[in-house]
Amino acid sequence: MSRYVQPMADLIEQLMRLPSIGPKTAQRLAFHILKIPKENVERLADALIDAKNKIISCSVCGNITEQDPCSICTDDRRDKTLIAVVEESKDVILLERTGEFHGLYHVLGGAISPMDGIGPDDISISGLLKRLSHGTVKEVIIATDPNIEGEATSMYLARLIKPLDIKVTRIAHGLPVGGDLEYADEVTIARAIEGRREL
């Protein structure tokens, strides 16, 4: 990195800390930043600082928000008897975009991953159980990823929640819409058959 003047080297180094940015991309971004008008750079810098300062996580559901509790938790039109449990805040955006879900959310902030040493205490499970203890929730939909970590998390949660006499459901596994059966893998097809529904 010694070929660069110090401020440039610092910029490249900071950019490289971002996910999926390697040395080449960092260098390209740094040169781009030098080229664009100063106002644009200031807007970028302000946006970074602003986002970091103003965004907090909701004390109820754990989703990212500007005010606490978040707009979803305080919205009276939403079905308070239904909670969808997701791994990350970005999953809330995905579910919201479908327009099909009108209940509340709970963001775990990750998934149980035995092999990575992420246990039940490292994600926001106690917060969820506290919310369920109020008695208003009738159903919990577990919408963690359909991979091994997501499955471990869903089974663990189901074991904790079922004794509370609350219905626990898991989002369906199956074929992607618009896909071709020929290209689907055996495991997915097996799951799709298992989870078939009557027409």
Binding site: S20, I112, P114, M115, D116, G117, G119, P120, N147, I148, E151, A152, M155, Y156, R159, P176, G179, Y183, D185, E186, V187, T188, A190, R191
Partner: protein
């Protein structure tokens, strides 16, 4: 560009980039292989189920600049029951971490591979995941040269062990009452536990669930073998915490 095809079992996966997944595969010929499956996290990826942890299949690997890559993967067995049962998942998660820590890259072994595959198959079907797992632990320790000495004192070699037998992880086996005073904090083991461990070592995987054992003896052998393996590995495996949490939960 060198390309080869091998069968293997996925021990570990790690997400990188937008949708890629780095898989640690255990293969009989080359031991552990780390290779990236491009786009494996996309819902329509052809790698999606063949690159999940525990998956057994044929993998075509090409050597890349910094990391090898998977160009084709054909799933043979996915062990869905290990994904659907929390307790079995916790046991299998522990065993794959154990293999990952115990074998190195390039250290392939057909026996270890067959044993791991047999374990996954039996674990999927068994109603006694605990004994099957302890059996795997003692068998794998034996194959890799860490077999604990159970028949005679590991320090003085005395064959006729009197009352009071202790297990010493440092000596790698049981010690008699006299030798046990050389070390602090050794835990006592019962004769029943030693007999059960021997039986598990000798028994075929498929027949292990026929072996009967009470709760205390099971606890005892589990503790013994984990202390032994933990001492050889010189670290505590992270998946054990989860296993404990799942087993001991109300």
């Amino acid at each position: 560009m060198a390309v080869f095809t091998t069968e293997g079992i996925i021990l570990k996966t790690q997400n990188i980039g937008e949708a890629d997944r780095v898989c640690t595969i255990y293969s009989p010929g080359k031991g552990k292989i780390r290779a990236v499956a491009k786009g494996a996290r996309r819902p329509k990826s052809r790698f999606i189920s063949s690159t999940q942890v525990f998956a057994y299949g044929d993998f075509q690997i090409f050597s890349g600049k910094s990391l090898d890559g998977i160009s084709q993967a054909q799933l043979k067995e996915a062990f869905p029951r290990l994904h659907d049962d929390l307790i079995k998942l916790a046991y299998a998660g522990y065993i794959v971490e154990l293999i990952d820590k115990m074998v190195g890259e390039g250290a392939g072994d057909q026996i270890v591979f067959n044993m791991l595959l047999a374990y996954m198959r039996v674990l999927s079907e068994t109603h006694d995941p605990q004994l099957v797992t302890v059996a795997f632990e003692i068998k794998i320790a034996t194959v890799l040269g860490y077999r604990p000495r159970l028949g005679s004192c590991s320090q003085c070699g005395k064959k006729r062990l009197g009352p009071g037998i202790f297990f010493s992880p440092e000596s790698g086996g049981v010690v008699c009452k006299e030798c046990s005073s050389n070390e602090f904090g050794l835990s006592r083991v019962s004769r029943g536990a030693l007999r059960l461990l021997e039986a598990l070592l000798m028994a075929e995987f498929a027949k292990i669930e026929r072996i009967k054992a009470n709760r205390e003896t099971r606890r005892e052998i589990e503790k013994l073998i984990r202390t032994h393996l933990g001492y050889r590995l010189n670290q505590r495996l992270r998946s054990l915490d989860f296993l404990d949490a799942v087993i001991n939960a109300p």
